[in-house]
Structure formats: structure tokens, C-alpha cells
């Protein structure tokens, strides 16, 4: 399955992926309208230090502990892709407890959110498209 992979060496810590993620998942066509004046809550997050930066989002694990821990069956995996049915999620935070990468977090509306590789946004992952330095790539590996 194609996944988003991180080339730590090339991450500039510019945070564009976070903004592109928030935009892609906003459901709004215009980025300004989607993000102006808002505090973003992206599904991809940059970790940064003085010399190292990298982006982290759902790894779509082969043996996903989040899916197996989900108390409501809201998280599921199909053909490798882990998605969340927000209508089923009650916000119990068990997935936050389980995810070894810290990649599931509450959405602004309550239920949990996670990277679904933009499959619900009608695009290839926008974080990757907008990355200026190929620090994240979307490919089979």
C-alpha cells in the first residue's frame, strides 16, 4: 500500500504540511476561508529541535493496536488503510493510549481524528503535495 514516508534529513520544519492537512480536511475549497483566524488542528504534526525536524502522522500499521483497542469499532482497517467512523467514536481516548506514535487526537468537534491519507478529501495526501523538499513522500516502500 502507498503510505506517507518521512525523510527526516529533508524536513525543514516549515509546518506547511500541517496547514495543508488542516485545509484538506476542512471541506472548504479556499485555503484562506478554511484557515484564516483559526487555530489549526492537523492530523500530521511536526516534531522539531534545533537541528532535527520531522513530520509524524498515522503509520497505518500492519498490526494496528489502535484498531484492536478501539472500544466502539469506530477504527477499522481496510486494505491497509486505517480510517475512523466519527459517528461511532465516543471520544474515550483509548486510541490515544494505544498509538505508539501519538498520531490520533481529538478533532475540534469531539470525536477522534487521524490521517486517512486524504482518501475522504478527493486528493492525494495534500501534506505530500505541498512539501517543498520531498521530506514526506507518498509511495510504496
Amino acid at each position: 500500500m502507498k503510505k506517507v514516508w518521512v525523510n527526516e534529513e529533508w524536513c525543514l520544519g516549515c509546518h506547511l504540511c500541517e496547514y495543508n492537512c488542516a485545509y484538506a480536511n476542512s471541506g472548504i475549497t479556499d485555503m484562506v476561508k478554511a484557515l484564516k483566524g483559526k487555530k489549526i488542528n492537523p492530523r500530521i504534526r511536526i516534531e522539531e529541535s534545533d537541528s532535527i525536524n520531522f513530520a509524524v502522522q498515522c503509520r497505518h500499521c500492519d498490526d494496528p493496536i489502535c484498531v484492536k483497542s478501539c472500544i466502539s469499532g469506530a477504527l477499522s482497517q481496510n486494505d491497509g488503510l486505517i480510517t475512523i467512523d466519527q459517528s461511532k467514536c465516543v471520544g474515550c481516548f483509548t486510541c490515544v493510549m494505544a498509538c505508539p506514535y501519538g498520531c490520533i487526537m481529538p478533532s475540534d468537534d469531539g470525536p477522534m481524528q487521524k490521517c486517512e491519507l486524504c482518501t475522504k478529501n478527493g486528493t492525494e495526501p495534500l501534506c505530500v503535495k505541498g512539501c517543498p523538499n520531498n521530506a514526506i513522500v507518498f509511495e510504496e516502500r
Binding site: 525543514l12 516549515c14 509546518h15 496547514y19 484562506v32 484557515l35 483559526k38 537541528s51 505541498g130 517543498p132
Partner: protein, 507 residues
């Protein structure tokens, strides 16, 4: 802490103004994070970004990165009383020098309003007779061999042909990447050039800064340079490259040496150049062992001897007034290839007055050198490469028709790598990761991307060259070389046409 303070005596209006469309700005702060000049800053109280345009060099990094296109950089319209003579830059420079007492420093090529002869030369095409060729349907050769060509066929006593061919460089495209030292440009810029040259079947040039140990693997596509500072020159280095280039001069600053500030001499740069870390790297104006053509000949043959006569020796000179006579001397000095660098050639740093006032246009230098070598009957003894502002494929076609075997591109290659020609290489804070040694900036240039863009550019140009050649009914670049009948001048004087060796349009 107060922001940087400029005294009124030293104040000059900033060249540019940063215009932020606050309707579009989403305060993502990418501009702030990406500007090494610290033009932008976010004020948490106001929840807004502000900018200090006095620090802006107009590299366009922020503009390119802004996801909502909320930024533009415009020319500042703050003005002195207009004068055609005492123009604003002229006055600014006087004010600056009055404040500092120092020479003005600039980077990249001469930006002043001198004639660009490429733009005054037009290319021919076939109509009816000698029909044009469609490069999509018929073979079209742009491969070039650089080096001495034998004047006669020699045979042994049995009548077999003796291979009397001197070492050659094979170029799959008539374009090479010109010398830019590791130090002046970054590791990743060098790696991009090396990877692209390998993929394209051409050559990049180490410049005078030695060859980083990681790049020996690209040796077959590398030209190693020996300049007046002799930085990083040793046996392995000479043997690593496909050819050795002796740098006498550079188009951007003929007659003077170079100075890489100690700040750019990082661990890797110091190891590669074989000098102490943090020490200034001074290249003397002349080679102190070369004061005559005979001295040059000695270095040429020293290098040939050191590499068992297996590698072509290149001599690079700046285009100056008597370049034709110098080229003749170089050809007679035993060099295999001569490089002429025009006065618009780029640099990582040069005194502004030198860059903008010394040297001559490459078009005129090329035409006169080619003519001189032909007149002396030694044109085949040496190949001719030109650089110093080759901007597109048409420039290459014109250069070849004026007599060049191939061209060097430097500035165009840097633009492919992301350079936006802010011409502040000497500041060392290149926001595109090219002319800098700062690790956080260097990583902005991913060589995978850089190499791909270089390959794209040269491939595109090569296809355009084929298209233009096909239009002229020429199917091999060998047949275009020195074919000045394919060129016509426009708006040129008799003297200029005479030097260029071309007729005026309509003739």
C-alpha cells in the same frame, strides 16, 4: 532587546518592500521560519506577522512558500530626486561607502545595462531548398567531443591506422556545469550538479575548492579545477576527474583573486580544501608560478605528466580585451580545451566595481577567439567552450554557430536549483540552500529534487537545440559549429558585425 538600529547618516531606503495581503495571510508563519534574513516576525499579542523590509534581499523564498499567496515583494518607491546620472543606486553606494570605508561587494553576474549580443543575433531556417529536418522523425546529433583533433591519419608499417587521438571528453549534450567551488556553494548544490551531470552524460566542475570525498564516485563526470590557491589539489584529486581545468580567470572578476570568508570554512570545507577550519581561503590574483605562456605550458604539461597524459587539460580565462591573442598562446601552450568566461558570468562574491566594469561580452570574445585560431590554423588543436551568461537554448545555438564547441552554464544551473537571483551569495545566508554552508539552510536543497530539475532543464534545452538545428536543415551540431552564415545581426554597427563575423539581417 531593540531591533537593529541604523544611524540617520547611513540610512538608505530599502530596495524592496514586503507587501502582505492581510486578507489572505493565515499567519502560518512559514515566511518567518524560512527567512534567514529575519525579515518576518509574528507578534503573538497582535496575532499578526510583521516585516522589516530593510533586511529583505528579495530572494522570493517567502513568496514561493506562502501557501495562500499573501506575499509579494515590490520595488520600494521611496525615492531621491530623480537624475539620469546620479541614480538612486549610485547615491546609495556613495552613502554606504561613506559609512563603512570599504569596497562594495556583490554576487552573481554583472547586472548593468550593457548590450546583450545574443539578443541582437537572429538564427536562420530553411525554406524550400535544403529542407528542414523533423527531429522527432530523424536522428539528430548533439553529442560533442572536446579535445585536440589530429591533423592527419597516421599508419604503421603494415598500413594499419595508428590511434593518435589525444584524450577527449564526450558530452552527450553540448552543455556542462561551470566551476562553482564547494565553499561558495553547498554540499547539496554540488551533489545535485554531480548527479545531474552523471545522468545527462556531461560534466560538472569542482571549482577551486577541491573535491569532497563523497563525490569521488562521480569522478567520470567531474572536471577538477586547479586555481591560484591550489586548494584541495593532490594526486588523488587530479586522478579523480575526467579532465583538469587550470583557472586563470573568471568573467565576473578578471584580474583578481578570491576570498572565501572563514565563516564558510566548515569542517567539511576545510578538509576538502585542505586548510585549517575557520581560516580565510585566499586565492591570489595570479598563479605565482605563471607569468608567461611558457610558464602556463609548464603547468599544463606538469598536470599531463601527473596523470599519464590520459586527461585533457583545460585552461579557463576571462574575456578581456586581448583575449584572442591569449587564446592563441593557450592553444600553443599545449592545452586541449580553452574556456572563455564572459563578463556577465556569475560569482559568489566580487568587488562590485570590478564585476560591473571589467571584461568584455562573451559573444565578441568568442567570435574573435574562434576567428584568430582559424586564421592561425590551430583551431583544431583545441576545443572552445564559452560561459558567462548562457541563458537558454537559443544562446547555445548562437554560441556554437559563432564557433564554440560547447557551453558552460552556472547561473542558469543555480536558477534550476532554486536560485532567484537575489545576488546576495556573499551574505552566506542563501535561503535556497545553495550559496551557504549553514546546515539548516543547506538542507533546503534536496539533491534528488535539484538533480531532477537540472536534468529537466538541460534535456529541454537539448531538445530545443535539435528543433532549431532541424529548422536550419542541420542534423549534427558538428555541422553548426562556426557556421556563421546561419546568423544575422540586428541593430548592430558595421564594427560589431565585423567582430562577430556575421552579416546584418536582410543581407
Amino acid at each position: 532587546m531593540v531591533r537593529e538600529f541604523v544611524s540617520p547618516q547611513n540610512f538608505v531606503p530599502s530596495d524592496f518592500e514586503v507587501v502582505r495581503n492581510s486578507d489572505r495571510c493565515i499567519a502560518c508563519r512559514v515566511c518567518e521560519r524560512q527567512c534567514a534574513n529575519e525579515v518576518h516576525w509574528f507578534d503573538a499579542d497582535a496575532q499578526k506577522l510583521f516585516s522589516d523590509e530593510t533586511k529583505c534581499v528579495n530572494c522570493h523564498r517567502c513568496v514561493s512558500m506562502c501557501p495562500t499567496r499573501a506575499l509579494k515583494i515590490v520595488k520600494n518607491d521611496d525615492t531621491y530626486r530623480p537624475s539620469a546620472n546620479w541614480t538612486q543606486p549610485v547615491i546609495d553606494q556613495v552613502i554606504r561607502q561613506s559609512g563603512t570605508g570599504g569596497a562594495l561587494l556583490s554576487s552573481m553576474g554583472n547586472p548593468e545595462k550593457y548590450p546583450i549580443y545574443w539578443d541582437k543575433i537572429l538564427i536562420n531556417a530553411s525554406q524550400v531548398t535544403n529542407p528542414s529536418i523533423d527531429p522527432l522523425r530523424e536522428p539528430m546529433e548533439t553529442k560533442v567531443f572536446l579535445g585536440k583533433k589530429p591533423s592527419k591519419i597516421e599508419r604503421d608499417s603494415d598500413g594499419n591506422v595508428i590511434n593518435n587521438l589525444d584524450p577527449q571528453l564526450q558530452l552527450d549534450v553540448p552543455v556542462m556545469f561551470s566551476a562553482m567551488s564547494y565553499g561558495a556553494i553547498s554540499y547539496n548544490a554540488h551533489k545535485s550538479l554531480a548527479m545531474a551531470a552523471t545522468e545527462l552524460g556531461t560534466y560538472y566542475n569542482t571549482g577551486e575548492g577541491g573535491l569532497h570525498k563523497d563525490f569521488y564516485q562521480y569522478g567520470p563526470n567531474t572536471i577538477v579545477q586547479v586555481a591560484s590557491g591550489r586548494f584541495g589539489v593532490f594526486q588523488d584529486y587530479l586522478e579523480a576527474g575526467a579532465a583538469i581545468e587550470i583557472k586563470i580567470g573568471q568573467g565576473a572578476k578578471p584580474g583578481i583573486g578570491g576570498h572565501l570568508p572563514g565563516a564558510k570554512v566548515t569542517v567539511d570545507v576545510s578538509q576538502t580544501r585542505m586548510i585549517p577550519m575557520g581560516s580565510d581561503a585566499i586565492s591570489p590574483a595570479p598563479h605565482h608560478d605563471i607569468y608567461s605562456i611558457e610558464d602556463l605550458r609548464q603547468l599544463v604539461f606538469t598536470l599531463k605528466e601527473a596523470t599519464a597524459y590520459k586527461k585533457p587539460i583545460i585552461v579557463k580565462v576571462a574575456a578581456v580585451h586581448n583575449v584572442a591573442a591569449i587564446a592563441s598562446g593557450i592553444a600553443r601552450g599545449g592545452a586541449d580545451i580553452i574556456v572563455i568566461d564572459g563578463f556577465r558570468g556569475g560569482t559568489g562574491a566580487a568587488p562590485t566595481r570590478i564585476r560591473d566594469s571589467v571584461g568584455i561580452p562573451i559573444e565578441l570574445a568568442l567570435a574573435s577567439v574562434d576567428q584568430r585560431l582559424r586564421d592561425e590554423g590551430i583551431r583544431n588543436n583545441i576545443s572552445l567552450v564559452v560561459g558567462g551568461s548562457i541563458r537558454n537554448s537559443a544562446d547555445i545555438v548562437k554560441a556554437v554557430a559563432l564557433g564554440a564547441d560547447a557551453v558552460y552554464i552556472g547561473t542558469a544551473a543555480l536558477i534550476a536549483l532554486g536560485c532567484h537571483q537575489c545576488r546576495n551569495c556573499h551574505g552566506g545566508k542563501c535561503n535556497w540552500g545553495i550559496a551557504t554552508q549553514r546546515a539548516d539552510l543547506v538542507k533546503r536543497l534536496n539533491p534528488e529534487i535539484g538533480a531532477k530539475r537540472l536534468v529537466n532543464l538541460v534535456t529541454a534545452w537539448n531538445n530545443e537545440i535539435k528543433e532549431i538545428m532541424g529548422g536550419m536543415g542541420i542534423n549534427s551540431i558538428e555541422s553548426l559549429r562556426g557556421n556563421r552564415l546561419m546568423l544575422r545581426g540586428i541593430g548592430l554597427t558595421e564594427k560589431e558585425l565585423e567582430i562577430l563575423g556575421i552579416k546584418h539581417a536582410g543581407e
